[in-house]
C-alpha cells in the first residue's frame, strides 16, 4: 500500500486537481477558493498543489484553458452567422455551467496559447462574413463586450448576491422607484435568454449590414456603394467627461 497516510484518495494529477478546483469554486465562490480548501478536498496538503502549478494564478489560468479548450470546434461548413451563433451560445453555456468562475474569465487578459487560439477562431468567423481587418477588429470587440457584460449579469445570481451594505428593502424600492418596479418582471432569469438574443441580434444584424456593403442597417440599405464604416456621430463627437 503505497499511500495510506490520510484518506484513501486517488493520486494527484493536473486533471484531478483542475476538476476538483472547478467544483470547489462553484461551492465556495472565487473569493472563498483557497489552496488549503482545495487541498482538503483533494485529500492532500496545500503545498502539494505547488508541485503541479507554480502559483495559484497559474492554476486559475489552467482552469481558464480547460474551459475554453473544452468548447466545441467551429463547424466550418455552416454560414458565418450560424457559426457565430453556435460559438457564442457554446460560450454562454460554459459560463452558465461555471457561474462563479466566470468573473475570472471575464476580468483577466488571457494571452495563453488556448486563449489566442480561441481569439483567432472568433476572428476567422468575422473574416468569413466578409469584413476587412478593421471591421473584424471592431465588431469582434463589440460583440465580445456585449457577451461578456451579459454573462457577468446572468451568472451573478449565483455569486455574491447583494452588496454587503444595507440593501434597500424591496417594499421601499417599489414605491420610490416606479420604473424599477415596473421593469422587474423582465429581469428574471427566465427572461435572460430572450434579452440576450435581442441584443445579440441587433449587433449581428449590423455586422451583416456592414458586410453587405458598408451600410449601417438603417434606411433602405440595398447596395448603395461603399460608405465609410463610421457613422457621422462617431466623427463629430469627442470624448465627453464630467462629474467628480
Amino acid at each position: 500500500m503505497p499511500r495510506s497516510r490520510s484518506q484513501p484518495r486517488d493520486a494527484l494529477s493536473k486533471d484531478r486537481i483542475e476538476e476538483v478546483a472547478l467544483a470547489l469554486v462553484e461551492q465556495v465562490g472565487l473569493e472563498g477558493f483557497s489552496t488549503r480548501k482545495l487541498a482538503t478536498e483533494l485529500g492532500c496538503e496545500a503545498m502539494s498543489i505547488y508541485h503541479y502549478y507554480p502559483s495559484k494564478a497559474h492554476l486559475l489560468d489552467a482552469l481558464f484553458d480547460r474551459l475554453i479548450g473544452g468548447l466545441p470546434a467551429d463547424q466550418l461548413t455552416l454560414s458565418w452567422r450560424e457559426r457565430l451563433d453556435r460559438t457564442v451560445f457554446a460560450y454562454r453555456g460554459m459560463a452558465h455551467r461555471n457561474p462563479r468562475f466566470f468573473p475570472y474569465i471575464a476580468l483577466h487578459r488571457h494571452n495563453t496559447a488556448v486563449g489566442l487560439a480561441w481569439l483567432e477562431r472568433m476572428l476567422t468567423i468575422f473574416r468569413d462574413a466578409g469584413l476587412d481587418s478593421e471591421q473584424t477588429a471592431r465588431f469582434f470587440r463589440v460583440i465580445g463586450y456585449y457577451v461578456i457584460g451579459a454573462l457577468i449579469d446572468e451568472t451573478s445570481g449565483y455569486a455574491k448576491g447583494h452588496s454587503a451594505a444595507d440593501p434597500v428593502p424591496d417594499s421601499v424600492a417599489a414605491d420610490a422607484y416606479p420604473n424599477v418596479a415596473a421593469v422587474n418582471p423582465w429581469f428574471k432569469p427566465s427572461e435572460h435568454e430572450a434579452t440576450f438574443r435581442l441584443g445579440l441580434d441587433a449587433l449581428v444584424d449590423r455586422v451583416e449590414a456592414v458586410a453587405a456593403g458598408g451600410g449601417q442597417g438603417e434606411g433602405p440599405l440595398p447596395a448603395e456603394g461603399l460608405r465609410p464604416l463610421r457613422p457621422a456621430s462617431l466623427r463629430a463627437r469627442s470624448s465627453r467627461s464630467s462629474s467628480r
Copy 2:
C-alpha cells in the same frame, strides 16, 4: 494640540477616507487595497476605519455610491437619444477616471439607494423614448451589458495586465495567429472610443427602430404596423449547450 501622536494629518471623516481610498485603489489595485494600507495613507491605524464603516465591504459600497452619485444630472430638456448618449459617456468617463476600481462596480449587485436611483434614471430615458415596460427592461439590460463589457476591457489595461502563467511571446503569436496579428492595430487604446461608439450606435439605432413602430431596423422600416418585439430567431431557438 489635540492630535500630534503620529503624522500631523487631518482628522478622519467619511469624506477624507473615501477620497484617499479611491486614490489608493488606483495606486495598488483592488487586490492590493487593504485596510492597513489605507490606514497608513490616512495616518491612522487600521481599526480606526471601522469606526466609520462596519466592514471593508461597506466602505467599498460607499465608494460605489460616491462615484455613481457624483455623475451629472439628467438633462431633461434634450432628446432621449442625446440624454442616453450623455449619460453613457458620463459613466464611461467615470470608469476611465477610476479604472482599477471599475471591476468592483461592474461585478457587484448594487441595491443601495444611490444605485437604485441611478437605475430609475436610466429607465426613465428608455420610457421617454417611447418604449413599453418590456422593451425598456430588455434594452436597458442590453445596453447595460454592452457598456459594462466594453468598460471592463477599456479599463483593464491599467489593472492586472497579463495572466500570471506563461504568456505567449508576441513574436510567436504573430506567426501562429495571423488574424490576431492583423487585427491588433485596432485594439489599441486610441481606437477604444471609435469601437465603443460603433457598438453603442448599433444598439441605440435598434432602440430607435423599435420605438418607431416595433420594427427591427432591418429593411425599409417606415412605419409598417406593430410587429412583435422578438425576431423570429428568438422564438425558434432554445438554449444551446455543449462542450466538456
